[in-house]
């Protein structure tokens, strides 16, 4: 923990933002000859909502996949909680307390909402397959504990009415919420959201924004999200990284990013007065 700066700031609305919890240092990611990410550095601080934005193909999702251990960058280092992270498998990253949702929903369609969210608890389950199948000893107590934790999340995200409904029967907006529930069930310290509001109508977006803010506020979860909807990003996040063609062209508070000329030109379009 030596590298973690101890400074703590308090935002205008009273949330505490701690020191750097994750740092990306000079990340470069190539697929064959294509450079997806080129020498990008930025950090994520504890308790903040950090957005990554950029036009299509800017490398946002690749960046998220680097954080979640799905891609391994050819150059650069990922530092997590003050330590340099060796190349890891995604499940190892998950074990470190990093959970994610997917741009294209990746739930178990045939299973109920409850079962889907329960799968998020896998990291908390210590008993073996046999013990669980026989429902012996610790397994029972463990299931109860996990169910209790899952029910809290179901309550928090207001999906009680679909608890027993198979996911395949749910509308898109609710599926997104179930995915968030599953990620939360892992009690992550960092939550990665890949376009949590893509394809939603205004009302669903408002709901989702409220849930993201509440998660951050209530559990103190650090959130890194990718989003297309500029309005949402500017409202939600504390700091924003802007990418374009694999390069970082801006980094700062929403206001700073909004007035950054490079960002305006590349992404928001050139202003006409």
């Amino acid at each position: 923990m030596n590298d973690m700066s101890a400074e703590t700031t308090v935002t205008a609305d009273g949330r505490k933002i701690g020191g750097v919890v994750m740092e990306m240092k000079n990340i470069t990611l190539r697929f064959g000859g294509v450079v997806a990410i080129k020498d990008i550095s930025f950090d994520i601080r504890e308790g903040e909502i950090r957005a990554i934005i950029g036009p299509n193909g800017a490398g946002k999702s690749s960046m998220l996949n680097v954080i979640s251990g799905f891609y391994h960058p050819q150059e650069g280092e990922v530092w997590y909680k003050g330590q340099k992270r060796p190349p890891m498998k995604p499940y190892q990253v998950a074990q470190q307390g990093i959970a994610r949702t997917f741009q294209n929903i990746a739930l178990f369609e045939g299973m109920s909402v409850l079962d889907n969210v329960m799968t998020g608890r896998i990291r908390q389950m210590k008993t073996g397959l046999l013990a669980q199948a026989l429902w012996k000893g610790r397994a029972e107590a463990e299931e109860v504990e996990n169910r209790a934790a899952v029910e809290k999340i179901i309550d928090f995200l207001e999906i009680q009415h679909i608890r027993k409904t198979p996911v395949s029967r749910l509308p898109y907006g609710l599926k997104k919420r179930v995915e968030l529930a599953r990620a939360l069930a892992a009690e992550p310290s960092i939550l990665l959201l890949d376009e949590p509001m893509a394809g939603m109508n205004v009302e669903e977006k408002e709901d989702m924004s409220r849930f993201i803010l509440d998660v951050n506020d209530e559990f103190g979860t650090t959130i890194a999200l990718i989003e297309h909807d500029m309005g949402v990003v500017m409202d939600l996040s504390d700091r924003v990284v802007v990418m374009d063609y694999g390069k970082k062209i801006g980094d700062g508070t929403p206001d700073e990013v909004r007035s950054n000329q490079a960002v305006i030109d590349a992404y928001l379009g050139v202003a006409h007065d």
Partner: protein
């Protein structure tokens, strides 16, 4: 037993370990015994004393049905304050009116949403000193000078036990039959809401006699899901529950009501007609998708049930063969269906508030569910008339409830007098005087008559809505509207014709029923508006209107009320836009003013009309929608003259 807090003390001893409240939370039914509930209420009452509640203060209570809010009401009474439950879905300005009118110093609310609403209107609420919230989510960053968490207030109460317990006991002792039990605001079909003051006598007498009428016991199970601001919920979930000592079950969330209903299986159930309609619509829709065998079984046995079910329920003579077949039907169809609906254990069921469609009513009765009608209002502590077991019909509202006297005035208006009759309208002596006379007779505002022979009361319409057509004949819009609304495709109807020579109507389609039909027939639509304007939908609705016209033609009193022209509105009538009350009764005046252009078009021979309407979204923002509406002519049936001189 002269007050609700006194009943609580009695129940805490007599029914100590029996359940008093249940609420489903985190997927499990949590329960509180009467002894535990008494402790929770005491802690809250002490906390309220600690906060400085005085006798006679008003405490606003805003939330959905949860044990905490029932406790709040009784805790408020225990310290001599008056609980004022409000509709939790009301917009901020509506709440401001009521809270300002009663000058509430305290508010006990559910969550951030309600806190935000009150903060939004706090400039008008200079008397409001403290807000207590149950759900802390999202509220941590708020300024907590005037904001307290429910469990903190209880904890403060517990730790200040010795300081305040004597005061609490003294205040509780002071309560008597005449002290105010609760103040409920009427939904107000006309004008501003009025605060109806009900005493302990009103509530306890009404609860006692109605419980005896239906032989309610401590073993009943009820599901509390109707708005807490409504007198019915107060009587069922507090009055009768405390009188009998039965358990009140609170659903997990409004969306899970149907599941929770099924899990609890209430023995005593109350619902407005709308709930029964919605349930029946969903059953019918699901049966459409069922396999052929199941559908055949359902149709076959339901036909049998319609024929003999109500008679069996009423204990009338039915042949042995029919009984046997009914039992078989019960095994295959009625039993499982009742179980799915959550009505399998219902011993006493009531519907009230609006007229219920005869087909809907008969459907439930034929299944063997003892569904009855009652007629009541806030000012009567609910009960005016009730249907006794075995004398149930869809077109009457029953006989006078125990202790209630009824008379019909010369103009046909129904008057009553009872122990449940309200004390007065708060800060409104004029309305009190015009509603309740010196002898205690209360004008209901409804026109009706006693049926010869059975002695049952029949309600025709709101007295003020009954008008005259241009030729002087009786105009009873509600009667026609109800006939229209009995069709599943029609959600709401508003009939016009007062002072005119022909009747016309605005109609709202039911999006569930019509939407399902559209899906089945591969008709695409993106919005309510688009579906409402679809030619085939209009044609279907015209069919319904013409059927209603034919049935009206049979009634010599009302045959001239047939609907000549109608249009299907481009938006749903909504309480947020002021077109309906929170209990979903149409506000005629508001509608005819707001849609004046449409009304004109119905009478000037237009075939279509373009209109723009302002709408209010749930969060209070405004928008506008515009549409071109077609005006449809409906065929009018010939009057049948033969019946006229029958007597």
């Amino acid at each position: 037993m002269v007050s609700i807090p006194a009943l609580l003390q009695r129940n805490a001893t007599r029914f100590a370990n029996r359940p008093a409240y249940r609420e489903k939370e985190y997927g499990i039914w949590q329960s509180w015994s009467w002894a535990e509930a008494e402790k929770e209420i005491e802690a809250l009452a002490l906390g309220l004393l600690n906060l400085g509640v005085n006798e006679g203060d008003f405490i606003a209570i805003i939330g959905r049905n949860r044990p905490y809010f029932y406790w709040s009401m009784v805790a408020a009474q225990s310290v001599g304050a008056i609980p004022v439950p409000l509709y939790q879905d009301a917009a901020a300005p509506e709440m401001a009116y009521v809270m300002e009118h009663c000058g509430a110093r305290f508010a006990i609310v559910e969550d951030q949403e309600q806190v935000d609403k009150l903060i939004e209107v706090q400039e008008d609420l200079y008397q409001l000193e403290h807000m207590i919230y149950v759900d802390p989510r999202g509220l941590r960053k708020y300024d907590h000078h005037k904001l307290h968490r429910f469990i903190d207030i209880q904890a403060q109460g517990r730790s200040a036990y010795y300081e305040f317990i004597e005061d609490l006991k003294a205040r509780r002792e002071k309560l008597n039959y005449d002290s105010v039990c609760v103040m409920l605001y009427t939904s107000g079909t006309t004008g501003k809401p009025k605060g109806v003051v009900l005493s302990n006598r009103n509530i306890i007498e009404a609860s006692k006699s109605s419980s005896e009428f239906d032989h309610l016991t401590k073993d009943e199970e009820v599901l509390a899901y109707l708005p807490m601001a409504w007198v019915g919920d107060f009587i069922f979930s507090i009055g009768q529950a405390y009188w009998c000592g039965f358990c009140v079950n609170c659903p997990e969330s409004p969306e899970t009501m149907q599941t929770d209903l099924r899990e609890i299986g209430p023995t005593y159930f109350f619902a407005p007609p709308r709930v029964f309609e919605t349930q029946l619509t969903s059953v019918m829709i699901r049966m459409e998708d069922a396999s052929r065998l199941k559908k055949w079984l359902f149709d076959h046995f339901m036909a049998h049930a319609r024929r003999v079910g109500p008679a069996i329920l009423d204990g009338k003579q039915v042949s042995g063969m029919d009984r046997l077949k009914y039992r078989l039907g019960n095994l295959f169809v009625y039993g499982p269906l009742k179980d799915t609906l959550g009505l399998g254990r219902v011993r006493v069921g009531y519907t009230a508030g609006e007229a219920i469609g005869p087909e809907i009513f008969d459907f439930y009765r034929s299944l063997g569910i003892n569904l009855k009608q009652l007629y009541g209002q806030t000012e009567a502590s609910v009960f005016i008339t009730l249907q006794p077991d075995g004398e149930v019909r869809s077109d009457t509202v029953g006989v006078p409830a125990p202790g209630v006297e009824i008379r019909i005035s010369e103009t046909g208006e129904v008057f009553y007098r009872s122990p449940g009759t309200f004390e007065y309208y708060y800060k409104n002596p004029d309305s009190t005087a015009s509603t309740k006379d010196a002898e205690g007779w209360v004008a209901t505002g409804d026109a009706g008559f006693f049926e010869e022979g059975s002695g049952h009361l029949r309600i025709i319409d709101r007295a003020k809505d009954v008008g005259k057509m241009a030729d002087g004949k009786l105009f009873a819009p509600k009667y026609v509207e109800n006939k229209l609304k009995f069709y599943p495709n029609i959600l709401e109807a508003v009939v016009f014709g007062n002072g005119r020579d022909e009747c016309t109507a605005f109609i709202n389609i039911d999006l569930t029923a019509v939407g399902n039909w559209a899906e089945r027939n591969n008709i695409g639509y993106a919005s309510y508006q688009e579906l409402a304007g679809h030619p085939q939908v209009l044609e279907t609705i015209r069919g319904h209107v013409e059927e209603v016209n034919r049935s009206l033609a049979d009634d010599p009193m009302l045959s001239h009320c047939q609907v000549h022209r109608f249009l299907v509105l481009h938006k749903e009538l909504d309480a947020d836009d002021g077109e309906m009350t929170r209990t979903r009764k149409v506000r005629r005046n508001v509608i005819s003013e707001k849609f004046d252009d449409l009304l004109t078009a119905l009478y000037d021979g237009s075939t279509e009309v373009f209109t723009t309407t302002e709408v209010t979204y749930e969060d209070g923002r405004k928008g506008a929608i515009s549409a071109t509406l077609r005006i449809i002519e409906a065929e009018v049936a010939m009057e049948i003259k033969t019946k006229v001189a029958a007597e």
